[in-house]
């Protein structure tokens, strides 16, 4: 009913406009034609999906195609269902905006009213070209879902997550990701999450059938390494390519989690998506961060409530450039707003979607980064309609709705991808501010305490970190991650037994938790319990055969037992998995030197210095080896360098004296 009254209103307004136009410009304008006026619009706004083989259900590439659907096109453009572009114009300037102006809508209607004239063939612009497979060319690596998933013929939409391991032998940097959904009609959009922990694999194993259910996936990270990228795909868009320096790191053992929104089509549909990865040699040097505003804790929406509002605010502790935005709610979401209040009080809109529709959710990248100075308050203000008037309401009749990741539950998330200006550690500063804000909302929240502790630990504020880890453990005594992180602090403080106790406790809760086992083995190694350490490391490598760090430690353990050849093999395996580990290069160099393989050892030390120019020990040790080879002048330069880095380096000073004495 609502729809039709709206349509009538539109028509009336439209008639009025035409009337006004007629008054001011009495000369009758020439009727629009397909070739001159409509084809350029269709090619620009529709063809990306509506071409043969595209994701749209039919093609709109020719006059015949468009003419026979003209009435349809007029209706769906008037209602702004097509082209799908939910953000309100004027509330953020985004890449790939597909908003038709009122003027363009009028022209389409005029063309239909005039009987859809074709016009002069001379006017027809060249049709855009689309290649079917990979839009960015052949990927460097293609991973495919290991089995098909069948979307049932009918029913509600399906939200499914699939884990795709990336078989890389060494760390690579990924500048772009593309998805071939395998069935364009079904896959409405997809998110990709990076899982460096194997966490999603376990969720997958616990859920029968291919993949696992849920609209959102939560993946815990074991270290503070904020996922800084939106990896989002929707049909009809060219995949995003990260600028130089912003490619993301892909280590051996990394999984991609494909989070897909699938729509039944009326017949069972098989999907088996492929992900194409495009690598770059340029490692990540620019680290954006995803900042999340949310108010899930306040989502408790009474049935029948038409305008339930939640808000969240975050004050920026540093200057940032906002690169992109991703608003997210489920089926009750109505008016989603994100805006910034600058220190001078002016409001800068980040995004507004007044007719939220989950089906068309997307990540939006700003055409130009939006600068927000320190002290800016970012506000999320979402409203929800839990009445029967909301046709998308999953409950009929409406029921009380709280937060959750099922489609019958709700969410209130506003993600911003920001690039902090200036300081090196501003991501940590941002994270600390975010978690303190979260603690204000949820004082006993595990995530807030845990993440705050992690960032404090990183900043060396150990005492405060211990307090928050302990509070995190109060909230969740089963958290093996919190036990392990607290163990790390104790280990660093020399409280070895306490640390060992915590690691063992974590491993009782989760025997395959490699971080705890890794730390435990290193502690055992440091305590001289080499046999025990080796058996722990072997167990770790059984669970995670591609753990570069474990191979490095195992090398050291073997070296301590005098098994030098085995140690070399172990270090080399570690470096195969992660060539950028300076420690492993240094350890290998040390053992090679012991074996008398001096020139190989020299190469390894040079590699250490290339990776970490401030390593005074490496300079000193390299100097010693060069001295043995008679390259005295070079040796002296390295001793000098070691002393420049650390003027108190006694060995380097002694060595330099000797070198000069020769």
């Amino acid at each position: 009913m609502f729809y039709f009254s709206l349509k009538i209103c539109l028509t009336v307004c439209f008639a009025l406009t035409v009337l006004l136009c007629g008054l001011s410009a009495p000369a009758q304008p020439v009727a629009p034609t397909f070739t001159r006026n409509i084809a350029p619009l269709v090619f620009e706004y529709c063809a990306a999906c509506h071409h043969p083989g595209g994701s749209g259900p039919f093609s709109l590439m020719t006059y015949q195609d468009v003419r026979k659907r003209a009435r349809q096109i007029a209706v769906v453009t008037q209602s702004r269902y097509m082209p799908p572009w939910p953000p309100e114009p004027g509330y953020g300037d985004f890449v790939g905006a597909r908003h038709l102006s009122d003027e363009q809508l009028r022209m389409i209607q005029q063309w239909v009213d005039a009987g859809m004239p074709e016009g002069d063939a001379k006017d027809l612009p060249a049709a855009p070209q689309f290649n079917e497979g990979w839009q960015l060319g052949k990927p460097d690596l293609i991973v495919k879902m290991n089995e098909q998933f069948i979307v049932p013929a009918s029913g509600t939409d399906v939200f499914r997550n699939f884990v795709l391991p990336i078989p890389v032998e060494q760390t690579r940097y990924v500048k772009a990701v593309e998805i071939l959904p395998g069935n364009k009609q079904v896959v409405h959009h997809a998110n990709i999450l990076i899982d460096r922990t194997g966490n999603a694999r376990r969720q997958d194993a616990a859920d029968p059938g291919p993949g696992f259910g849920g609209m959102e996936v939560s993946i815990e990270a074991e270290s503070f390494e904020p996922d800084s990228h939106f990896l989002f795909w929707k049909p009809g868009t060219v995949p995003w390519v990260e600028p130089d320096g912003m490619a993301w790191r892909c280590d051996p053992g990394t999984d991609l989690v494909l989070n897909m929104h699938l729509q039944p089509t009326g017949k069972p549909e098989r999907i088996q998506a492929e992900i194409g990865l495009y690598f770059t040699d340029k490692p990540q040097t620019i680290f954006p961060m995803l900042v999340q505003l949310e108010r899930d804790g306040a989502l408790d929406i009474p049935p029948g409530k038409k305008d339930f509002v939640v808000t969240d605010e975050f004050t920026l502790p540093v200057d940032v450039d906002v690169l992109g935005v991703y608003p997210h709610a489920h089926y009750l979401g109505k008016d989603l707003q994100g805006y910034a209040t600058l220190p001078d009080g002016t409001r800068k809109w980040l995004i507004r979607i007044t007719r939220w529709d989950l089906n068309w959710q997307a990540v939006y990248k700003y055409r130009e980064p939006v600068f927000l100075p320190k002290g800016t308050v970012i506000t999320m203000r979402y409203s929800y309609d839990n009445s029967a008037d909301n046709p998308r309401n999953p409950n009929h009749p409406p029921k009380r709705v709280k937060a959750g990741n099922r489609s019958s539950e709700e969410m209130s998330h506003l993600w911003l991808q920001v690039l902090p200006r200036t300081r090196e550690d501003s991501r940590a500063v941002l994270q600390e501010a975010l978690m303190r804000q979260r603690l204000k909302k949820y004082p006993a929240d595990f995530t807030a305490h845990f993440n705050l502790a992690a960032v404090l630990q990183l900043a060396g504020k150990t005492d405060e970190a211990v307090i928050h880890y302990q509070q995190a453990l109060q909230a969740n005594p089963q958290s093996y991650a919190a036990l392990t992180s607290l163990g790390v602090i104790f280990q660093e403080q020399g409280r070895r037994d306490e640390a060992i106790r915590l690691y063992r406790q974590a491993l009782r809760l989760k025997p395959d938790y490699v971080n705890a086992r890794y730390n435990l083995s290193n502690l055992l190694l440091a305590a001289g319990k080499v046999d025990e350490a080796i058996s722990e490391l072997r167990e770790l490598l059984r669970v995670k055969p591609d753990d570069a760090g474990a191979y490095n430690s195992l090398g050291s353990a073997l070296a301590m037992q005098g098994r030098l050849a085995e140690a070399v093999t172990s270090y080399e395996r570690s470096l195969q998995l992660d060539a950028r580990n300076a420690d492993a290069h240094g350890n290998l160099a040390f053992v090679l030197a012991q074996q008398g393989r001096i020139s190989e050892a020299v190469k390894q030390y040079e590699e250490v210095i290339r990776l970490d120019a401030t390593n005074a020990d490496a300079h000193n040790e390299l100097g010693v080896l060069l001295g043995q080879q008679g390259r005295i002048a070079e040796a002296a330069r390295h001793f000098e360098q070691a002393l420049r880095i650390n003027p108190n380096h006694a060995q380097a000073r002694e060595n330099l004296k000797r070198a000069r004495g020769r």
Partner: protein, 195 residues
């Protein structure tokens, strides 16, 4: 004066007659639709069932495709009472494409083509999918329902997770119980049947 008045009355009668003809469309008995082999079929010349159900569809209309399982369910449920047929009004669709469509969606219903839109005009169908239900009368088949299958779609892109009113099913249930129905119409949401 008298003469003139008579002529006016005649004129009015004539208009009414034309109107009545236009509303009724071509008489049911003479209506012919092509099957997929091009043979002419008289869709109303059936002896057995008491109810005829026509579902207007297109092979490339996502909304009508999404209704395939529901159409099949209803055809199955009312198999004893009603004869369901799929009507393809698109002159641009080939019989081959329609055969493929029937096989893709596992339809075992009879498919007819209405390229001239004779049945479209007779029923007043506007979009795909849209249903028309005829009940056998004394002289001819009586249209008792024309419109949406259910209320799942409210507009393009605006749909409920599940229907709250199943119009076609309710109509068929009433008819099955022997109730006499007056013509009821609803607005269906779907792909416009192009002229």
């Amino acid at each position: 004066m008298t003469k003139l008045r008579i002529s006016i009355i005649r004129l009015i009668a004539l208009i009414c007659l034309i109107g009545a003809l236009a509303a009724a469309g071509p008489p049911q008995d003479s209506l012919r639709l092509a099957d997929l082999s091009g043979r002419q079929v008289a869709p109303f010349a059936v002896t057995d069932p008491e109810v005829l159900v026509f579902i207007f569809v297109r092979s490339d209309c996502p909304i009508s495709n999404r209704y395939a399982p529901e159409v099949k369910r209803l055809a199955q449920k009312f198999a004893d009472k009603a004869k369901f047929r799929l009507i393809y009004p698109g002159a641009d669709e080939t019989s081959e494409a329609i055969r493929q469509h029937l096989s893709d969606y596992e339809y075992s219903l009879e498919a007819l083509r209405d390229e001239q839109h004779a049945l479209v005009k007779m029923t007043g169908a506007q979009v795909t999918p849209e249903a028309a239900v005829f009940v056998r009368g004394k002289k001819e088949w009586r249209l008792v329902y024309r419109g949406r299958i259910d209320d799942r779609y409210l507009a393009f892109g605006k749909m409920r997770p599940a229907p709250t009113v199943r119009d076609l099913e309710q109509t068929l249930e009433s008819v099955s119980k022997g109730k006499t129905l007056k013509l009821r119409t609803t607005t269906a949401i779907g792909c416009f049947i192009s002229p």
